[in-house]
């Protein structure tokens, strides 16, 4: 049977990141291994402190001052992102890798209208806008955001700058803003553009953020807990939107969430993180049916399931480890029911134990 080799677009290998704080060195990431394939949704699941947000920030090059990347590589389109300069990373963030974070209120500028903010994203590449105007003039009719996606105007074409007036560029940007708001299902986009961030509801703000992220048609889209701060019905809308956009936008999504159920419904594959490591990676259906890592198993049992109620929830004894003085060897071993001596000594590597299924544990029964 022929297995189509899926193309890897982003590959994180052995990533170690520390933070320097008063209390000591925080070993946030302890050798993270992650692969993101083209056009897939990878769910990165874990509780607070496991390092999922830090992973995202490292990929984006947005780590704070007191963070140090000790080792590891992040390969994107054949280049190691960790070796890039700040300016190069900035350009990458503008063009290729986009992110939306948890709390849209703090990420939107409160004193600018939505139009200003959204247009700003498009204006990052005036060249593209110029070409769009020229195309529109030549072909008649209006160009829409969808056309950008389908390549009628080459987005990454760095050739000559045609002569186009500022007013026309502005117009183009504005019409693209309206388009993209429609794409994220905002009611009455023209009116939204005139409003400020605080006038929008949580769900709408989140959608505006998604619009800003998608405006540059990125190849990688990082969604860091985008539905945690919103209500259940709005969460359903936003996730539904993400599912709908998948086919239109040719991007791979890294969906970071602490909610396994959200990952269950939206991700193709799930990577479970604990204590700064990825401990299990598998396709979604597989991981739910056949969870191998003890942490994943206990996590599954701790979620109250409406369809399968139980008297007591299984919980994991102990607490999430302090990353200042993390446990030796496998970080989960103090709380693990099947830990052996070896687990305390040496950290298990992520190994492929089944087709498409990787686990970082010595005592897995396959």
């Amino acid at each position: 049977m022929q297995v189509k080799e899926k193309e890897v677009i982003l590959e994180v290998k052995d990533l170690k990141v520390f933070f320097h704080t008063y209390r000591g060195k925080v070993e946030a990431l302890n050798g993270v291994e992650l692969s993101l394939y083209k056009r897939e949704v990878l769910g990165l699941v874990g509780e607070s402190g496991c390092g999922k947000s830090v992973t995202a920030l490292t990929i984006l090059g947005l780590l704070p001052e007191n963070a140090y990347v000790i080792s590891g590589t992040i390969f994107f389109r054949g280049e190691d992102l960790l070796k890039k300069s700040r300016e190069e990373m900035r350009l990458l963030r503008a063009d290729e890798i986009a992110a939306v974070f948890q709390d849209p209120m703090t990420y939107l500028n409160p004193v600018l209208t939505m139009e200003t903010q959204l247009k700003e994203v498009f204006m990052l590449d005036t060249n593209l806008l110029r070409k769009a105007v020229v195309w529109q003039k030549n072909h008649g009719g209006k160009i829409a955001f969808d056309d950008l996606l389908s390549g009628k105007v080459k987005i990454r074409d760095k050739s000559t700058n045609p002569k186009v007036s500022k007013g026309e560029i502005n117009e183009m940007a504005k019409s693209l803003c309206v388009d993209i708001l429609r794409l994220v299902r905002m009611p009455d986009p023209e009116r939204i553009l005139r409003q400020y961030a605080f006038e929008l509801s949580g769900g709408m703000r989140q959608r505006a953020m998604i619009a800003m992220a998608l405006a540059r048609t990125p190849s990688v889209f990082i969604a860091d807990e985008i539905t945690t701060a919103v209500d259940v019905t709005i969460q359903a809308q936003i996730l539904n939107l993400m599912r709908g956009l998948r086919d239109k936008i040719d991007a791979s999504t890294l969906l970071i969430t602490h909610d396994l159920s959200v990952a269950a419904e939206n991700a193709d594959r799930i990577a479970v993180m604990y204590g700064g490591n990825v401990v299990e990676v598998a396709p979604t259906v597989e991981i739910f049916k056949n969870h191998l890592h003890p942490y994943t198993s206990m996590l599954m049992k701790a979620i109250p399931d409406v369809k399968n109620p139980s008297e007591r929830l299984e919980f994991i004894p102990g607490t999430v480890p302090e990353m200042i003085n993390p446990p030796s060897g496998c970080r989960f071993h103090p709380r693990c029911s099947i830990a052996t001596d070896k687990c305390a000594v040496e950290k298990p590597e992520l190994k492929r134990v089944l087709k498409n299924h990787e686990v970082a544990c010595y005592n897995v029964a396959v």
Binding site: Y22, G24, G318, P321
Partner: protein, 321 residues
């Protein structure tokens, strides 16, 4: 159970001591702050020791009877012994064996000694005034913020009135009204500085009042007094502390300004502003008088300012924890 990196603390005060150690650690990291702290300690030590270092009787110009106590310059030396510097026609300079490091003032008193004697006066004033203004203003601000309503409005309007007048003019007005003794002068300046604390505390209280733990305490049955004095005020006190240290410097300067403008209780009082005002008329022929007393004022203000800056950085709750 979770692994604790702080260790088991045996009692309440041990816990608070550990907390304090963390504060001191943070303070140590900033060189400017350390400089401020050292300077402050230096001045405060001087405050207590001044009267032992220098005989206070030297301040009394009658202590130099051989020179009659007249105002024009009797002796003036700077930096040199036996060297006569002729500053201009008509000014006769004294040739004598004594060496004055910073020169002398109008009565021939050793300036260095006078400055040393002046420091406790100024710093004492600063502390009394600032603490008084802070205490009074904080209490009023806390009440206004917590109770709200009419009391809040009234207090706000009163502070508005005070704050609308430039502080020096206000100080002058009060000084004129209340007289020229040291106590009344202190009171006058206190009246100038207290409104800031009212505003500061009120702002803190307003935001602290809405916090979850206050609600939790009320739900548990804590009365208003307990909540306000036991919880809200202690949690809001840090900006007041910072403001107080910054105000020390301002108070010294204001007090000196009043002395300078002629409100001093006695012309021979060793006080930095007083000394400076002496030297005002001779700023070109004997600049050291004004220079050094002014410099000392600057250093005191600087010391407390740096301390205040450092405290503010350290106590910022975002940086802690």
């Amino acid at each position: 159970m979770e692994n604790s990196e702080v260790g088991t603390t045996k009692s309440e005060w041990a816990a608070r001591w550990a907390d304090l150690k963390y504060t001191l650690y943070l303070l140590r990291k900033n060189p400017l702050v350390m400089a401020g702290i050292f300077m402050t300690f230096f001045f405060i030590a001087l405050m207590f020791l001044a009267n032992y270092i220098v005989d206070p009787k030297l301040a009394n110009p009658a202590g130099y009877p051989e020179f009659g106590g007249n105002y024009p310059f009797q002796r003036s030396y700077v930096w040199s012994k036996g060297n006569i510097i002729n500053w201009g026609p008509g000014i006769h300079l004294y040739e004598g064996p004594e060496f004055f490091l910073l020169g002398t003032d109008g009565w021939g008193r050793d300036l260095l000694k006078m400055i040393v004697l002046a420091i406790p006066v100024d710093i004492e004033n600063a502390i009394i005034i600032t603490l008084g203004a802070a205490a009074f203003g904080t209490l009023l601000g806390a009440l206004a913020g917590y109770v709200g309503g009419v009391i809040d409005e009234v207090v706000l309007r009163i502070t508005d009135i005070f704050l609308s007048i430039p502080y020096l003019i206000l100080a002058l007005v009060f000084a004129t009204m209340f007289g020229r003794t040291i106590e009344t002068l202190r009171f006058s300046i206190l009246l100038v500085f207290w409104p800031t604390y009212v505003r500061l505390m009120r702002g803190q209280i307003l935001s602290e009042k809405e916090k979850s733990y206050v609600e939790a305490l009320k739900a548990l049955g804590a009365g208003h007094a307990r909540v306000l004095f036991g919880h809200i005020i202690p949690n809001s006190i840090y900006p007041v502390l910072v403001q107080a240290t910054l105000d020390f410097g301002s108070v010294v300067l204001t007090f000196s300004a009043l002395m300078f403008l002629g409100f001093s209780p006695s012309p021979s009082l060793p006080e930095l502003g007083n000394l400076a005002s002496d030297g005002y008329f001779h700023i070109f022929d004997a600049p050291w008088l004004m220079m050094f007393s002014g410099l000392t004022m600057l250093l005191i203000a600087l010391a407390f300012n740096l301390l205040g800056d450092g405290l503010r950085d350290v106590l910022d709750p975002r940086i802690r924890r």
